[in-house]
Symmetry: D2
Subunit: 342 residues, 4 copies
Amino acid sequence: MSYKVAIIGASGYTGAELIRLIATHPEIEIAALGANSKAGQTIAQVFPHLRHLNLPPLVTMDQIDFDQIDLCFCALPHKTSQEVISQLPKTLKIVDLSADFRLRDPEAYEQWYGNPHAAVEMQKEAVYGLTEFYRDDIKNARLVAGTGCNAATGQYVLRPLIAAGVIDLDNIILDLKCAVSGAGRSLKENLLHAELSEGYHAYSAGGTHRHLGEFDQEFSAIAGRPVKIQFTPHLVPANRGILATSYVHGDAAKIHETLAAAYKDEPFIEVLPFKELPSTRHIRGSNFCHIGVVADRIEGRAIVVAALDNLTKGSSGQALQNANLMLGIEETTGLMLAPCFP
Amino acid sequence: MSYKVAIIGASGYTGAELIRLIATHPEIEIAALGANSKAGQTIAQVFPHLRHLNLPPLVTMDQIDFDQIDLCFCALPHKTSQEVISQLPKTLKIVDLSADFRLRDPEAYEQWYGNPHAAVEMQKEAVYGLTEFYRDDIKNARLVAGTGCNAATGQYVLRPLIAAGVIDLDNIILDLKCAVSGAGRSLKENLLHAELSEGYHAYSAGGTHRHLGEFDQEFSAIAGRPVKIQFTPHLVPANRGILATSYVHGDAAKIHETLAAAYKDEPFIEVLPFKELPSTRHIRGSNFCHIGVVADRIEGRAIVVAALDNLTKGSSGQALQNANLMLGIEETTGLMLAPCFP
Amino acid sequence: MSYKVAIIGASGYTGAELIRLIATHPEIEIAALGANSKAGQTIAQVFPHLRHLNLPPLVTMDQIDFDQIDLCFCALPHKTSQEVISQLPKTLKIVDLSADFRLRDPEAYEQWYGNPHAAVEMQKEAVYGLTEFYRDDIKNARLVAGTGCNAATGQYVLRPLIAAGVIDLDNIILDLKCAVSGAGRSLKENLLHAELSEGYHAYSAGGTHRHLGEFDQEFSAIAGRPVKIQFTPHLVPANRGILATSYVHGDAAKIHETLAAAYKDEPFIEVLPFKELPSTRHIRGSNFCHIGVVADRIEGRAIVVAALDNLTKGSSGQALQNANLMLGIEETTGLMLAPCFP
Amino acid sequence: MSYKVAIIGASGYTGAELIRLIATHPEIEIAALGANSKAGQTIAQVFPHLRHLNLPPLVTMDQIDFDQIDLCFCALPHKTSQEVISQLPKTLKIVDLSADFRLRDPEAYEQWYGNPHAAVEMQKEAVYGLTEFYRDDIKNARLVAGTGCNAATGQYVLRPLIAAGVIDLDNIILDLKCAVSGAGRSLKENLLHAELSEGYHAYSAGGTHRHLGEFDQEFSAIAGRPVKIQFTPHLVPANRGILATSYVHGDAAKIHETLAAAYKDEPFIEVLPFKELPSTRHIRGSNFCHIGVVADRIEGRAIVVAALDNLTKGSSGQALQNANLMLGIEETTGLMLAPCFP
């Protein structure tokens, strides 16, 4: 049995990554590709690396017959996404990759994104898409909100530790090193090769990055009290990858045990042996997340480092994993591609 | 039905690439991994990006029971390869990725590689592994010699043109731009990141690169007369990819037609529309080869450009494609992974 | 004695490179920085790497008092440049870095650039800025037209060989590998880090690149007959550098001798020992050009490779070298910075 | 007046960087280049980017006549350095770039470096080379110990804050992102381009990096009590640069004021306007250090980020700055080169 999916926003990087993954998925077929700004073009024109695939041409959203579609991936910018999704059939299964349905609280949404939410009722319906922690809800969901790629990485480190009470909730620092594809295919001077390669810097420092909205929502819910972490992302000259270095107060061995236990049956989350640390090069192009734990020389402090691919596990791979669950397909289908190294 | 394979030389890049590809191959199982220098280690220690795979530990070659093996990939350095392969059971199917069995003429081998061949009789038995042109022979072969990665790229451009007589045989220039993984996992100063990134240069210029032995052998055989091309490789700061820019004398439109006709049924060779040119970024991590043709402003001259991934179509992907044929598996199995972009 | 210069178009890469070089020049002072689109900003806002310099803020062109200026560098886009320069005082010394005054023939200009020239009389006045070959004219010039960066590289290889009659004029191929800063600080999708890094491709193939206008003009003048070369540039993932691989028919030893003799007194052109080849990493950030010669295995054919930094010797370094000559300053002043490696 | 210097260990990256800087220094002349393993070679063979310089050939250490030398730079590996330096004339001015004389306490040295110190008495004589804080001692020193590149970066952030008492001494985290040239020209698998580019990771995590010895020594001395910081370096795919992200408890505005006041007369340390953050791309190839301060959303916490070039301000630039002081030359001579961007 084969399911038909549409991808809206197919001309961006997360759209391309969805197509790359679905290309070898045995039970899902891409029936429609929406991209308003590039409608009329073939996939070979927009993404020459996908030219070997037999895919429909890009169309505008209103040219898609959603009655023929079992599930729709929305890979649009935030704000646009909520407007578009509120126009889609109310029975259509949707995996949204944007930020629009990640926050359940309309006020929190407005605080972090600067505009009132245009589809408040759907905000409530949406299930948060961090598969390992919302698996059962996702199976039954109609609308799943993919997590932010930074937010996913940080949560893989911290959720089990907060839940188990093995770290101090008031001393959590997350220092992230992010590859450039996380910024999307946008024409900005600082994303040019000549500007970005050979240099790196911190951005959105001091607690201003929007993914903090997700951290606050999720960590506070787990802890049963407000939890505020410190979070500084850095842009590094690589295309794919997020490396999260987390500084926490707690016993390193217990932290390692807690993480190992939490993820021992998870197909995509690998907790490395105690004292080993991950590298983004070892998860590139794959749906895997590697986590390592080291004790600091200062007693009672530990460093936890996680690595994942922002486009795969941090976005499109996660989206496909959730789509598998929503469609009743085995969860790992199409997602077992090994990382591409070197 | 599942076939059991061994990979000897599993700790190099072509070994890792074979494992990456076979990881999602439905009909081939890796039963043994040989790597003398790293015997005793797990794959996670040698290639952390493959740690999620359930693979046997690395062993020395004499620990492998070849009676249990349907086919053996040899990813060893040249010269070592001929010594090792001549010790293997004479009935074992072998795909050799080294240079040792590419040249049929022992003198040519000695000329290009500097030492007499240690297994001359097997040189004769070996079938040249450029799948699209030796497919039927490969199906029935016991020993297949994988082509050089540069040699494959150049031949995809030039074989059909020489065969069809549409270019001048005495004016063929091949200017190659090669990524660094083609040099293997070898500890050389000029392969360090600090040396190589941000710079590029020509090497083995003037007709001294060993892959010329393959060009001479193959092109002369096709033409029925000696053909000598000019060939200059360049090392560029990227990990995967070969871009071959070929300058030929001939009618560009006819050249394009000839190539399009030659490859129209090939699953992995894509001839782009006339006047479009390929990029290595659009085949990275895949088994595809893209070819483009442009007419020069000087009448009667054309530029043909081909791009492929040296580790995949130029080496391990080609090897797996040939193994599929030798084992009676559908040729494209396990090889339809889309390129990894960005 | 100190000369005052203005830089118009100071917010682009060639503008920044001029400032970098002049920053340690003992006899030139930057008195005005023009950049219409960023007027009112400080240099620290536009180029934070220059923040330590005590420079005037960016202004619009009409805010500059050219009476106080001894020489003006124009680092504007072509077409804009001719319009702006024709408005400047007729006695002002000008070094133009754009393409606008490189071609002496108005028809050739229109053919390559697609619009009629707006300052035809100044086209005739302009001296072509390839210092080593127009030194005496440049000393006395009022308006010097900087060469194209690709055009400079190709000419360093070919001018002495054409002049000496040691190569076949009908079989000249120039295969260029260009770093990305040559494309300027322009917001194009294919210049994004995520698109460009890890891949490379040919562009403007087949004789359509505008720098061919310069090659045609100069080489035909030297030869005293029309000379048309083949020229294909490639974009590689590095920030600075041009590597020109030239395939010529001629005796390699004689070619090497000819080049060595031509450049033996030149401070910035280094001809390597016969059979050694240059790398862009060894000239990065400097005004040097390295040239190497190798004989091909086919008798009577040679490969000549040149490397220079497109922003320095290919553009802003050349401009400063010419300005030194025009102002009566020792030619190498401010230009002896060693390359930045690694 | 011109001073004669020798560089021992001239074939490594810090040796090359010293030569690059001294190449345009008006008062220092390189009289001898020592490099035991490459003795007999010219600089053009070891570092082709320096081929334009008129330099003596590389020799073994015992071929150098130190009577003719005013100052000697030692750019040797640690441990070798102490052995070599203890053999040099006792009156020779020396700037050591290794780790051997950074720690004053022999036990601390043995703890961090694993071997007893072979020249304990010289350990006491040596002056710590962080110019801005030991300027007067350096002027009168015979032996100056260059700081670690990471150690320098961290101290530029933290010394004024500890001295002023504006941060909590028990909650200091330093997360460093280091470019690869810091690892030297060493043949290690993980420094290969194919391994390193496109990926990044933490190393020496948990308080095991040797530069902690310097932090402990210096910060404890300033505070008058033991201070232990947390410090995790990360390797990123770039050639030059260190970005130090420091998480501290204290008032951000006061921290900014403190730093701005501390460095207001320093020629190479630039404190950015409050809330602006530095990037390594803006100091590459230069002796400048940029520092920025941002308040966290959690009251009483701040992020301080510093960027410098590990080869220049972190090593060879610092060494030359100290040599200037020791020789009575104006401190900034030869060091005002602007950063090389893009």
